[in-house]
Symmetry: C2
Subunit: 209 residues, 2 copies
Amino acid sequence: MSETIKKPYHHSNLYQALLEAGVRLLEEKGVNGFSLREVAKRAGVSHAAPYRHFKNKSELLKALALYGFRKLTEGIQAVVEAAPEDPETQLVESAQAYVELVMVHPAIADLMFGDRSADMEFCDPEQAIAMNSFSGLANIIARGQQAGVFIEGETLELAITAWAQVHGFALLFRSSQKRERFGLETEPALKLQLRKSCEMLLTGIKRTE
Amino acid sequence: MSETIKKPYHHSNLYQALLEAGVRLLEEKGVNGFSLREVAKRAGVSHAAPYRHFKNKSELLKALALYGFRKLTEGIQAVVEAAPEDPETQLVESAQAYVELVMVHPAIADLMFGDRSADMEFCDPEQAIAMNSFSGLANIIARGQQAGVFIEGETLELAITAWAQVHGFALLFRSSQKRERFGLETEPALKLQLRKSCEMLLTGIKRTE
DNA sequence: ACCTGAACACCGTTCAAGT
DNA sequence: ACCTGAACACCGTTCAAGT
């Protein structure tokens, strides 16, 4: 009787344990090798236990995608604060942070931006979290315009353009196969090309007269 | 005896029938709802029959992805021929073709560019087919440089930048959810924003004092 | 309240066997 | 040569039952 040492069923916080096991499994096996049953096994519970905490597999993956969006937002926030008066540097360094996240957590990037993100119906507060990454970029553009560094015009249109550039670069070279094919297999080479691409976004690829 | 009318087992060309059933299933159910057993059922054969023609599920998906790459290459080729002397128009219209492919065949785009494309190990001739889409873009840049329309510098670096821009735009707005969120739910609105983004790529977003 | 174990309907893949 | 049917090891999900 009284307080026994014996654990009630398992460790105290299954929700968190599932998320952590999920991240690890994701990084080991990728999105396609990811199964709810394996996550449960790694967390030391039966395969039905996760359903106490997540409506289904998609909801667990959504939680992991949101983790990625938070990381990305933090990364962008950090580089903005590191160069508070320099929108150009903020833009280039945000791009580096974006690419780095995709390189370090490719499977989570797949969740954030891949085909499963179509299935994931974010509720409003979740949408907000996912959107904060874009807002970070849009704010850089907005402040850059106010400072007279970027051209005038609809901020949203500039931000979409910058975002597409960075997003496309990151996703194109997510696969090591493509990095090798373009001689960008080393991190410095990749970062240098990204820097050049950002520079071209800034100054254009069209010859001026 | 002699030639009977009775079909040997099924329709004559199972390989082609599997591809066609595959495209339809893909467009109905998306990449995640795609199963080899269902493709076989739709082609009217047993679930094991596809293994006579494809090593496994991935090989069928690879064949479908290659179909997408061929379509994209054709699309780019067509717009180049439609404006043979105008690299700028070629670039913008290629972008439109790229985006259109992703919008019209989202599930095939997922195969071409999504996380499954990491699993897909292209052999050399297949790589070449997949790469032709990029080569089309790179050639536009190269000819534009020769014509003095685009800035000088490494063609590959310019091409990567343009490609990233177009690719990022196409993938960002592949989901109707995001198109709606940015007021780009109609096709004209989306095309207009793409045109603007291409324009910014050409002339830059940095203010020239 | 929280978890288990059996059950169901689906997978991908393999293989002996049929024509 | 081409296809079938049974079999195996895996899924995601549900649900009555246990503590």
